[in-house]
Symmetry: C2
Subunit: 339 residues, 2 copies
């Protein structure tokens, strides 16, 4: 099915539902596609006669599957739209299929425009789920223009060559010594800035939706983020009571890390509390009014992206090491959830 | 343990944890007590040597248990503070204990002050979890002053005589023909207004925290709510695309009702979508920009209390009957989740 610039293979999903005889099916869909979900549900209900239930809790990635909660509604099958699976996650308690929303935008213009921004000849290519099927187009353009495109697979959380997540840049980091710069294909700034912070190699972002290319903006955003992180670290130096924030979403749970952080606090004679949370928001945390600093073990975007929403500092576990004097600011690293 | 005007029997919980040898225990606590949770966790960890994990997602009642989500963190036992269990809910996937937070406030003054507000002689007494242990005080005061106090048990969702929930006034409704008015003991206005809307009998609210008695304020709030509900119903009359909101919280799931509502829409030739949601907020629903009206099957407070936060009308299934001409406005009823 074609929906607003995306191709979503719902026909195949409908066949699966019919073949398996599922009667109650849930669908999980990213924010931007929610306004088309009525059309999608109409199509699937007409084709399969199954009852469709739309899961409406915000969904930011394949880390964020809802199986457990939907089980009580007799849901037999979950359709997760817009993300590729995280191979590391197993044991779904309801069978789940991942249906990518493939952008129908031609990336040619954006990639061609990016050529004059590239630094060096060895170019690492990375992208998000929506453009994975177009990576050969980028490779061809680079080769024709005498660049050497380099693509690789990521770690156990990455399903496809060249793909990065907001919390996992391993498909870039694995080739860091072989490339002169990275070409990111996609929209938004979080992925290229995260890759820049992680790799410290130049990142050029080519946006196929606007046919614009960003390099300076990514560099500037990196500087802004680093200034904010420096401030958050400084503001945490005198904290004595810490909350360790653990994400309940399947792909964000890092309990081993939470326990390690807790032991560190014990060793430093600081009070700490393990706080588990499904949906992070300032409202969910405002009750903990006697906590001086939160250390987020969940999605790195909570500390980095949402920083200004919170009244007290939220830092990552890497930033905590700087707070406690175990790491130097010069060795700052972006917090990835790696597989 | 005594905490800010509440007695919480954590000593007994500590004994249970030690006896059973639990190593990882989660604690779920209402918003107002979150700032004391560090103290509670310190006590329990010192007494039991178990690791405590605080569940921080907002918790509005015993309908809202988190077992499923915490299972992946190897939690063996859940302590749910501040609410009494809903007996109807069974099959917790992690053993759960409910520890009430009993108000240490003496209710005498508030009840004595309420006497001059009471109408008739037969007085139905109702309260919330925090004051259940003080109901005999209220009974005695009423008897000494020549009133006839009447208390009864509720339906399968109510664990204790005289208790009402924000969504279940059965302990009042069961004696509606035997009483002249109701005396509500507790703070807040939602419970007494809900009882007033449900029973249409006078409700006098005696607040032990402020020693104030409210009757006129409750009546006025009822009128405000009815005007808002009338407006929401009027604004839904021309809707053609409906979202049926189902709560994922264990004690708020009413799938049978959701399916009945859906069939009604089919019969009236209106488009509808079943939308399942754990945490309701305007942000979670803003993506559904082509839906004209939401029918909430979940907690009745979502439609009634949070009405002004949403841009498009949210109505209850009873209000939908008025929208569709199946019920008269004169027969308006508050939406309860009954057992």
């Amino acid at each position: 099915m074609q929906i607003e610039g995306y191709s979503i293979d719902l026909e195949k999903v409908a066949q699966t539902i019919k073949k398996k005889g599922y009667k109650t099916v849930a669908i999980q869909i990213p924010e931007g596609l929610k306004r088309y979900v009525l059309k999608i549900v109409e199509f699937l209900e007409y084709e399969t006669h199954a009852t469709m239930i739309v899961s409406a809790d915000p969904c930011f990635g394949a880390c964020d599957i809802v199986n457990n909660k939907l089980k009580n509604l007799d849901v037999e099958f979950v359709i997760h739209v817009g993300h590729t699976p995280i191979p590391e996650i197993e044991n779904y308690c309801i069978p789940t299929t991942f249906v990518n929303a493939l952008s129908t935008k031609d990336i040619t213009k954006a990639v061609e425009k990016s050529l004059s921004f590239l630094e060096g000849k060895r170019i690492g290519i990375v992208t998000t789920a929506q453009h994975l099927h177009s990576l050969d187009v980028a490779e061809n353009i680079l080769q024709k223009n005498n660049f050497k495109p380099i693509l690789t697979t990521g770690d156990a959380r990455i399903s496809t060559k060249g793909q990065i997540l907001g919390c996992d840049f391993s498909a870039g980091m694995n080739i860091i010594d072989k490339v002169d710069c990275f070409l990111f294909i996609g929209s938004g700034t979080f992925h290229p800035v995260g890759l820049l912070l992680s790799s410290k190699k130049p990142v050029i972002a080519a946006d196929p939706y606007t046919n614009s290319v960003k390099k300076q903006e990514i560099d500037e955003l990196k500087d802004i983020i680093l200034r904010q992180r420096y401030g958050a670290i400084a503001n945490s130096k005198n904290a004595s009571k810490f909350g360790i924030l653990v994400g309940l979403k399947r792909g964000q749970q890092r309990m081993d890390l939470a326990y390690r952080v807790r032991k560190t606090f014990d060793a430093f004679n600081k009070k700490s509390l393990i706080i588990a949370l499904d949906n992070f928001s300032p409202i969910s945390l405002q009750g903990f009014s006697n906590i001086d600093c939160f250390v987020s073990i969940a999605c790195p975007r909570i500390a980095i992206d949402d920083y200004l929403q919170y009244k007290i500092p939220i830092i990552t576990s890497i930033e905590l090491e700087i707070v406690l004097g175990k790491r130097k600011w010069e060795d700052y690293r972006f917090d990835q959830i790696l597989g």
